[in-house]
Symmetry: C2
Subunit: 203 residues, 2 copies
């Protein structure tokens, strides 16, 4: 029987590395920790990925390519604006509930190493908001939407979807909720965020 793709040593390492890097970041992660998580020897990490830096880049790229296409898919679809907003916020929040460390990982590592984004921008699937921008400008000109810059609206959509995951611990304390209640709030946001945005922009 051929080994399934996820049980090869190489894949086991990548999964373990993903888990550790996303929780601790590039600098905070320890190769020994990754090896332990994968249940194999530390030397094997170097055998397969040469260095910590290269292992990290493999993890980062994979994570980025998981988030980016979702941005594109919705932003550049042919849906109407309200449908886009509903679709995007619902899908994105659902996705991030399943992968809560992902956005913070991406944002944090891009802050640590802003030049890294240059490499990513050459990728085919790097997100763009061109279609979304045209749509918004058009509808604003027609008087169907309140005047707002497409860029600001885009920032708002992303902020409302992602921030509650990034600032989870701070927000939990300020609004004085426990873990269960906070998860409930996040669930509600799957629809709440779109309602909020649409009320904000419709005439």
């Amino acid at each position: 029987m051929v080994k399934s793709k996820d049980t090869t040593t190489e894949a086991q390492i990548l999964n373990a590395a993903k888990s550790i890097f996303q929780r601790k970041g590039m600098i905070g992660a320890r190769m020994q920790e990754i090896a332990d998580e994968a249940g194999i020897n530390k030397a094997m990490l170097h055998y397969y990925y040469r260095s910590k830096q290269l292992l990290f880049e493999a993890v980062f790229k994979k994570a980025f390519l998981l988030l980016a296409p979702q941005l594109n898919e919705v932003m550049n679809s042919d849906d109407k604006i309200c449908e886009k907003i509903k679709g995007f916020t619902h899908n994105y929040i659902s996705f991030v509930i399943k992968h809560p460390y992902l956005p913070n990982f991406i944002i944090q590592e891009l802050n640590r190493n802003p030049e890294f984004i240059q490499k990513l921008m050459t990728e085919k699937h790097f997100p763009s908001i061109d279609k979304f921008r045209n749509q918004v400008n058009e509808k604003v000109a027609e008087g169907i939407l309140r005047p707002i810059k497409a860029e600001q609206l885009f920032i708002n959509i992303l902020a409302l979807s992602i921030f509650p995951f990034i600032a989870k611990h701070l927000l939990k304390s300020i609004i004085n909720t426990n873990e269960t209640e906070y998860k409930q709030l996040l669930e509600e946001r799957k629809t709440e965020v779109a309602d909020f945005i649409i009320n904000a922009i419709k005439i």
Copy 2:
């Protein structure tokens, strides 16, 4: 002549540490780097603050106590809700434009060490949204505001104010702007964010 408070060695160290820790985080920062920034010897850091951990905690606490009272001041004032929102977003965004590393620093270090927030919660000035919550619930009951949970509204206000600073590099690339243009967008948000929120909640 008595030395001004900011030129004592102790204060020089704290300022240098603030600058380095906020940019690199607790793990990324190097004691040597902080000493260089302060223009003094590495051994002095230990003479005044004993260890990296204690120096870090001094910086973190000072930073937190800079952000927290602003939250309280607006959220628990006697202003009407719309005034609160306008006042808070304008002041907070202005403040963060001047201290762009601050929110990310706080959020990042709280994620790394969630237990740390327990210590902070015992402080007098730890933010609470009690008054704001009552106000929102009241106005919603009266039918003056669209139905929304105060907690969700609070999260939205903070998200729209802070996220553009945290995700700066990512957002800059996606919306394809240079540094100057992005700063301009942030400037606009001093009023844009409040308009957006108020439109979203008013009937």
